[in-house]
Symmetry: D3
Subunit: 164 residues, 6 copies
Amino acid sequence: MNKKNMAVYPGSYDPLTNGHIDIIQRGLKIFDKIIVAVLKNPAKTYLFDLDERCQMLRDVFQDPDKIEVDHFEGLLVDYVKRRGVTTIVRGLRAISDFEIEFQMALMNRKIEPRIETIFFVPPESYSYLSSKLVKEIYMLGGEVSSMVPPIVDRKLKEKFRRQG
Amino acid sequence: MNKKNMAVYPGSYDPLTNGHIDIIQRGLKIFDKIIVAVLKNPAKTYLFDLDERCQMLRDVFQDPDKIEVDHFEGLLVDYVKRRGVTTIVRGLRAISDFEIEFQMALMNRKIEPRIETIFFVPPESYSYLSSKLVKEIYMLGGEVSSMVPPIVDRKLKEKFRRQG
Amino acid sequence: MNKKNMAVYPGSYDPLTNGHIDIIQRGLKIFDKIIVAVLKNPAKTYLFDLDERCQMLRDVFQDPDKIEVDHFEGLLVDYVKRRGVTTIVRGLRAISDFEIEFQMALMNRKIEPRIETIFFVPPESYSYLSSKLVKEIYMLGGEVSSMVPPIVDRKLKEKFRRQG
Amino acid sequence: MNKKNMAVYPGSYDPLTNGHIDIIQRGLKIFDKIIVAVLKNPAKTYLFDLDERCQMLRDVFQDPDKIEVDHFEGLLVDYVKRRGVTTIVRGLRAISDFEIEFQMALMNRKIEPRIETIFFVPPESYSYLSSKLVKEIYMLGGEVSSMVPPIVDRKLKEKFRRQG
Amino acid sequence: MNKKNMAVYPGSYDPLTNGHIDIIQRGLKIFDKIIVAVLKNPAKTYLFDLDERCQMLRDVFQDPDKIEVDHFEGLLVDYVKRRGVTTIVRGLRAISDFEIEFQMALMNRKIEPRIETIFFVPPESYSYLSSKLVKEIYMLGGEVSSMVPPIVDRKLKEKFRRQG
Amino acid sequence: MNKKNMAVYPGSYDPLTNGHIDIIQRGLKIFDKIIVAVLKNPAKTYLFDLDERCQMLRDVFQDPDKIEVDHFEGLLVDYVKRRGVTTIVRGLRAISDFEIEFQMALMNRKIEPRIETIFFVPPESYSYLSSKLVKEIYMLGGEVSSMVPPIVDRKLKEKFRRQG
C-alpha cells in the first residue's frame, strides 16, 4: 500500500470512546488505512493496561487491512517514522483541545518536518466526549452506554463488578 | 484520478499569500490533486477582481495536474459536490480562525454530511499572515515581499503605481 | 405576575432561528413569562424591518401570557427598567459569544447594578446557528428549513421570490 | 415551595470564597431558594473535610429557608433529581471556566435533559478568585481576608496555627 | 532623554477613555516619557477628527515632558523608528484583544525586529471599556461620565447637542 | 541603580529554556537589570533542585550587573517588595498562558497595587516551548539541543546518563 494513503491516529484509548471511532471513520474517507497507535507512557497510570486497551480496539475494529491496532512507547514522531508513514490524524473537539494539539503539531514538526498533522472535527454531539469524562461518569455511578461501544461498556462493568 | 485523492481548497485569494502556498503544499503530501477554488461573492468588494485573482494563482502554480485553479459562486458544498470531491482543506492559523472555521465545517457538514473538512497547521511564522493584513500593510506603505510570491508583489505595485 | 418571574430576551431576530426558540423554551423552565424584545437600531441595516421581525415572532409564539413580543430602541437596560423586570436572558453558543456577551453583561451591570444577566446553553447542534449564517446560506442558494421555523422559511422565500 | 423556584449550586467549597457568596446572592434574585450542595468526591483530597466545609457554609448562611446547605456524592444530576429540582446554577468567571462548564452542562443535559444549567457572571473584581488560589496565597504566607468571609479566614488561621 | 526610557502608545483615541489613561499611567511607572500617538487612517471614519482627538488628549495630559501627544499616518513601525524609540506599549483587556494584539506585535517585529511591544493589564473594572463601547452607549442615550474624563464627556455632549 | 530600571523575571526554570533567554534579552532592551528569580515551592517536585537550577542560570548569564540570578520562597509580591523593585516581567506565548498570567497579574496587583506586571511576546518559533515540554521530549528519547542552551542539554544528559 502507498504510504501516502496511510495515517497514524495516536492516543491513550483508556478506554476507546465513540468519539475516537468517529475520527477513525472520517480518516478512512481520505486514507486507505488508519493505524490506531496506543500510547504506553510508563509515567502515566491507566485504568486499562496496554493489553486491555489494544484488545478492546481489536474487538471493535475487525478489518486489520483498513484499521490496524498497534502500540508504541517513546516519541510519537519516532514511531511514525519507523512505520514509514507521514501523516498523523487528530480530532479537534473544542478550543481547549486547540492549543494543546497545536503545540504538539508544531513540536512534532520541529522534530521531524516531513510528518504532517491533520485535524478532523467530530460531530457537535461529541464535543464534550473524552475518555477521562467517561471514566469519571462511570465511577460516579452514571451510565455511559451511549458514549462508548458495547464492548467497552462491558469491560467497564467487569472492572467495577457492577450489575448491568 | 480517484476522487478520494482530490481536495478543494476554497478561499478569496485577494491576493494569494505565502500562507496559502504553504497549505497547498501540505495538502499535496496527502492528496494527488488540490483544486484551488476562488470564491466570487457578489456581496463583497475585492481589491483584485476574479480574473486577476485566478491569473495570479495560475502564474504561481503551473502544474494543473496537481494544482487546478477554478472559481465558484454560491454555496461551497454545492460546488464541492459538483466537482465530485468529498474533502475540503483549510488552514488553522490561530484561535481566532478556530471558531469561524469550526462553524463553517459543522454547517457544511449539516448541509452535506458526506463532505469532510480537514485542517492543516501552517508554520508559526505564518500565524499572523492573511490577505487582509498584506493589503493593509501595503496600503500604509509597508513592504510585503516576504509575505507573498513575487508575482503578487508586482501586481500590488502595478495596482498602486508604486515604484519598487 | 411577580416581576421576579419574568425575564427579557433581547435580540435583533433578523430573522428568528430555531436557536432563539430553544433559548426561549429553556427560559420558560425558570420564568413564568419571557419578553422577547426586538431591537430597533437605526444605525443598522436589517433584512426584515421591525414590523416583519415582530410579526414572525408573533406568528410562532401564540401564547402572549407566556411569551410576549415587544420592541425597543436605545439602551437595553433602560428598556428593561421601564418594563420593571430585573433579569436579562442570553444564549452562549460558543467561545466567540462569550467575550461579547461578558462585556455586555458587565457593562449593563455597571449602568444598572440591579439588573442581572443569566446565560443558557443551547444544544450542541445549534452551536453554529445564527441569524447571520441563515441569511448567508439562504442568499447563496442553500436550504435553511432545518434552521428556522416554517414561517421564517416562507418569509425568506417571499423576500427573495424563490420557488420553494 | 414550587420546585421551579429552587436551584442547586454545586461545588467543593474548599473553602467558601466571596465569589461563591456573590453567585448565591445573584441566584436569590431569581430563585426563592438556593441549595448549596457540597461535593464529597472520595477520589479527591480536600483541605477542609466535608463537615468543616458544610459548617463554614452554615455559619455564613443562617437563613435555611432561602439558602440550604446540603452535601452529595456521586453524579450531580442524580442528586439534583433526588431533590426534585431542575435548575443548576454556576458562575462563569473567565474563558478558562467556559469550556469546562460548557462540557459539564452539555454532559449533564445528555444524562438528564430536563435539568437546565444557567450561568451567572461574577463582578470583574472576582474574575481571578477561586478556592484554589485562596489556598495557595494563604500557604505562601499571603493575606486572604478580602477574598473570603471572616469565618473562613479564621478557620484557615486555626488550620495553620498562624497568628492573625 | 535616553530613548530607552521612552515608549510610544499608539491608538485611535476616538475618544480617549479612562482605560487609555490607566495604561498611560502604568507606562509612566517604567518609562520617563510616553508618546501618545494618534492614528490618522484615511480609510476609517472617526467620530472626532484628528484635531479634536489630539486636543482632548492635550487637555487631559498637561505635562508634555512626560506625556507627549503626537499623531501619525502610515505604518506604526515607520513612525516609531522616525521617533527613535524602540518600545510600543499596548493594553490587553481580554482574550479578544489578545489575538489581534499578538498578530500586530509579531507583524511589527517582522517588519522591524528592533522594536519591542510590551503589554500592560488594565484593572478588571476596565476589562470591557473601549472607545467603541463608549460611543455606542452614548448614542443610545446612556451615561458615560464614569468611563471617560470630564473633557471627553463634555465634547460628546457638544457633538450631539445633548443637555447634561 | 534606579529601581525603576530593574525588573524581576520569576519562574521555576526547571530547566532554563531558550524561551526564557529570549524574554530576558527583550527585558534588557527596556530595563538596565533583570533579576531572574528562581521559585522554590516546597509543594512541588522539581527535576533539578534549586542549586542546580540557579547554577545553570549563572553559567549562562555571566554579567551579574545586568542579569542577577536569585531565588525566593513564598509570595512573589513579597519577594519583589523586599528587592525594592516594582516591575514583574513575564512572557505570553499563547492563549493558554494568557488566562493564568492574567489571573496572577490581577491577584498580585490586589495584594500589592504598586507592583506592575508587563508582558513580552516571544518569537512564534518559541510559542510551544516550555520547560515541561523539554522534559517530556527528553524523557521520551527526543533531542532538545535546539530548545535549551548547551549547558542545560549537558545537565539533562548527566541526569539521565545518556550518551550525547
